[in-house]
C-alpha cells in the first residue's frame, strides 16, 4: 500500500480549475517530486493535501485512511508535515522555541498541569526541548538555538523551517520549494539533507521544486502537472524526454508565430 494516495483531486476557485482530476501515489520511504511550470497548481495541490485548502472533489488517503478535507492540524498530527514556499517562521521567537512548536501535537500537558507544574508536565517539557535540539542538530544549526529566528541569515531560516517540520515526527515530509533562494553550497547541503532524512530518519519526502537539476538528482519519481492536470510521471529520465513535458515548459513551436 502506498503511503499517500491522491485520487482524482479537484480544486476550483470560482470557475478556475487550480487542480483538475489529479491522481498520484507516494510510496513509503521514497523521495518524490511534483513539478510543473509557474501557476500549474503545485502549491494548490500541496495546500489541499495539508488541509489548507478544501478540495472540491476527489479523495486523499494517507496510510490507507482518508484525510480529505480534514483540518491542517489533524493532518499534521497524523504524520504529514509541511514547509512553506515563503518562510513562515515565528519571527520574534527563538530558534529553539520555533522548533519546539513541532512537538506540540506529540505532547498533551494542559492548563492545569502547567499551573501545578506536575512531574509529568516537567518531564514533557524536557522531552520537547530534547527533541527540538535533536532536530536542530540534525539540520546543523544547533548553535543558533537561542537567537531570534528573524535575526538568522536566510539559508539558516530555511533550516529552522525544516527542523520545525521534523519535530512533528512526520512519516511524510512535504517541502514546498525548499531550494528557493539558496546558493550553490546550500543546495548541495539540501540534497544531502533530503537523503539523510530518508535514510536516517526513515521519513518519506515529497517536494515541489523549480530547480530542475536538484529535482532530477534527488527524486526517484517525478509527477509533472500543468493547468492542474497530470501530464507525465516517471523517473527523471522518462520525464525529461517526454514531449508533453517539454511542450509545457517551452511552449509549442507554432505558438511563436502569433
Amino acid at each position: 500500500m502506498p503511503l499517500l494516495e491522491v485520487k482524482n483531486l479537484t480544486l476550483s476557485f470560482g470557475g478556475l480549475m487550480a487542480v483538475n482530476n489529479l491522481s498520484f501515489d507516494v510510496e513509503e520511504n521514497s523521495i518524490q517530486s511534483l513539478i510543473g511550470p509557474n501557476g500549474a497548481g503545485k502549491t494548490s495541490a500541496f495546500n489541499c493535501l495539508t488541509g489548507f485548502y478544501r478540495a472540491s472533489k476527489g479523495d486523499i488517503l494517507f496510510q490507507g485512511k482518508s484525510i480529505f478535507r480534514m483540518k491542517p492540524h489533524k493532518i499534521t498530527a497524523m504524520g504529514m508535515a509541511r514547509t512553506f514556499q515563503n518562510l513562515r517562521l515565528f519571527r520574534n521567537m527563538t530558534v529553539l522555541e520555533n522548533v519546539m512548536s513541532g512537538m506540540h501535537c506529540r505532547t498533551r500537558a494542559g492548563a492545569l498541569a502547567a499551573v501545578l507544574r506536575t512531574p509529568g508536565q516537567k518531564a514533557e517539557e524536557k522531552e520537547i526541548r530534547r527533541v527540538a535540539e535533536e532536530c536542530l542538530d540534525f539540520v546543523g544549526i544547533l548553535h543558533h538555538k537561542d537567537r531570534l529566528a528573524r535575526n538568522l541569515p536566510y539559508g539558516d531560516q530555511r533550516r529552522v523551517e525544516w527542523a520545525r517540520a521534523l519535530a512533528t515526527k512526520p512519516k511524510l515530509l512535504l517541502l514546498d520549494e525548499p531550494a528557493a533562494g539558496l546558493n550553490y553550497d546550500e543546495k548541495e547541503q539540501l540534497i544531502d539533507l533530503i537523503r539523510r532524512i530518508r535514510q536516517e530518519l526513515e521519513i518519506t519526502v515529497m517536494l515541489i521544486e523549480h530547480d530542475m537539476g536538484l529535482v532530477m538528482r534527488v527524486s526517484e519519481k517525478i509527477t509533472v502537472i500543468d493547468y492542474g492536470q497530470k501530464i507525465a510521471e516517471g523517473t527523471a529520465e522518462e520525464v525529461k524526454n517526454n514531449p508533453r513535458v517539454i511542450e509545457a515548459y517551452l511552449g509549442k513551436e507554432d505558438e511563436d508565430d502569433d
Binding site: 495539508t50 489548507f52 483540518k71 491542517p72 492540524h73 489533524k74 499534521t76 498530527a77 508535515a81 509541511r82 512553506f84 513562515r88 517562521l89 515565528f90 519571527r91 520574534n92 521567537m93 527563538t94 522555541e97 519546539m100 512548536s101 513541532g102 506540540h104 501535537c105 506529540r106 505532547t107 500537558a109 494542559g110 492548563a111 498541569a113 502547567a114 499551573v115 507544574r117 508536565q121 514533557e124 517539557e125 520537547i128 537561542d146 537567537r147 531570534l148 535575526n151 520545525r164 517540520a165 512533528t168
Partner: protein
C-alpha cells in the same frame, strides 16, 4: 516595516533601565522587599489608603485575567466585565437567596464563567478574530441587560446583603482582611499567569499570535488553543467577581457596563500586553490615576481614550517593553 523599525529604536532607549531589573537575584530581591512592604502597609495606612490598595489588588487580578486573552492569545475581548458580572452574581445569588457558604459558591462561579466562555468563544473563535471583539461587546450588553431585568438578580437595584465568609476562623469584615485576601489572589494570579506563559500552552498562544497558518501546520488546533485562553480569562474574571461580591456585599448591574471592560483593557494595553509586570503597572495606574486627579471627574474616560490612542499609535508595546535577546 517602518513601525517595526520604530519599535526597536524606542525599545533600545529604555533597555538599560529594564535590563537591570530583569537579572534574577535582583528580581527576587525586589520581590521579597515588595512583599514585605505590602504585608506591613496595614500597620501604618489609614482605611482610605487600604481601600485604594485593595481596589488595586482587585484590578490587578482582573487585568492579569484579561491579559491571558488579549496579551497571550492576541484576542480582543470587549466584554470582559460580563465574566466579572457572572462571578459576582453567581456568588451573590447563591449566598443571598440560597444561603450557600461563599467558599462553596466558588466552584459554581468557575463553572458558569467557564461555560459562558465556551458558549461565546466556541462558535466565534472559528471565525476571523475581529468577530470575537464585537460578539464579546454584545455579550457584555446581554449580561448587563439580563441582570437589570431578571428578578433573580434583583433588577436594576441589584443584590444586597451578600454574606461574608469566615477564613481560618476569622470573619472577614475589616478592610485589612480584604487587603490581605486580595493580595493573596494577586500572588496566585501572578503564579498562574507566569506558569501558563512558560508552558506548552503559553508557547502555542504565542505561535498563533505570530503566524496562525504556520502554527496550524505544526499541528496546533488554533480554535481549541484560543478557546483555552478565552475560557481561562473568563474564569479569572468570574473568580474576581465572586470576591468582589463579598467585599462589597452589594452588587448592581451598573458596575458591569462597557466602560468597565474598556478600562480593564486600557490597563492591559497601557502596561504592555503579555507582560506581567507591565500589566500590574497598568492596573495600578488605572486605580491611582483617578484618585490622584480627583477634579477631572467627567474628563476621566476622555483622557483614558486619548491615552489609549496615543499608546497604540506611538508605543504599541506599552510602557514595560518585552526584552528578548
Amino acid at each position: 516595516m517602518n513601525t517595526e523599525k520604530n519599535i526597536t529604536t524606542q525599545t533600545r532607549l529604555t533597555d538599560n533601565i529594564y535590563a537591570g531589573l530583569e537579572k534574577k537575584p535582583v528580581l527576587y530581591g525586589i520581590f521579597a522587599l515588595l512583599i514585605v512592604a505590602v504585608l506591613l502597609v496595614p500597620q501604618f495606612a489609614n482605611n482610605y489608603l487600604l481601600e485604594i490598595f485593595t481596589n488595586t489588588w482587585f484590578y490587578i487580578v482582573l487585568c492579569l485575567g484579561l491579559n491571558i486573552v488579549v496579551g497571550y492569545a492576541g484576542l480582543l475581548d470587549l466584554g470582559y466585565a460580563a465574566f466579572f458580572a457572572i462571578g459576582a452574581y453567581t456568588t451573590g445569588i447563591l449566598s443571598s437567596q440560597f444561603g450557600m457558604n461563599f467558599w462553596l459558591t466558588l466552584p459554581f462561579s468557575i463553572l458558569f464563567s467557564a461555560l459562558s466562555g465556551v458558549i461565546i468563544g466556541g462558535p466565534t473563535l472559528r471565525l476571523r478574530s475581529d468577530y470575537l471583539a464585537i460578539v464579546t461587546l454584545g455579550f457584555g450588553e446581554i449580561i448587563r441587560i439580563a441582570a437589570r431585568n431578571l428578578s433573580i438578580t434583583g433588577g436594576a437595584s441589584g443584590l444586597i446583603g451578600i454574606e461574608r465568609p469566615y477564613l481560618f476562623g476569622i470573619y472577614l469584615s475589616k478592610i485589612h482582611h480584604f487587603y490581605y485576601l486580595f493580595f493573596l489572589l494577586v500572588i496566585l494570579a501572578v503564579i498562574v499567569s507566569y506558569r501558563l506563559h512558560y508552558s506548552r500552552l503559553g508557547r502555542a498562544w504565542q505561535y498563533i499570535r505570530e503566524d496562525e497558518d504556520a502554527a496550524e501546520a505544526m499541528g496546533i488546533n488554533r480554535v481549541q488553543i484560543k478557546l483555552y485562553a478565552f475560557v481561562i480569562g473568563a474564569i479569572f474574571g468570574g473568580m474576581a467577581g465572586s470576591f468582589y461580591a463579598i467585599k462589597m456585599t452589594a452588587i448592581s448591574p451598573e458596575t458591569f457596563v462597557f466602560t468597565q471592560s474598556a478600562m480593564i483593557l486600557l490597563a492591559v494595553v497601557l502596561g504592555g500586553m503579555g507582560k506581567i509586570p507591565g500589566v500590574i503597572l497598568g492596573a495600578c495606574a488605572l486605580v491611582l490615576f483617578p484618585e490622584i486627579f480627583r477634579e477631572i471627574g467627567q474628563m476621566r474616560m476622555l483622557l483614558f481614550g486619548i491615552v489609549l490612542l496615543i499608546i497604540m499609535i506611538f508605543r504599541p508595546q506599552g510602557i514595560w517593553p518585552e526584552r528578548r535577546n
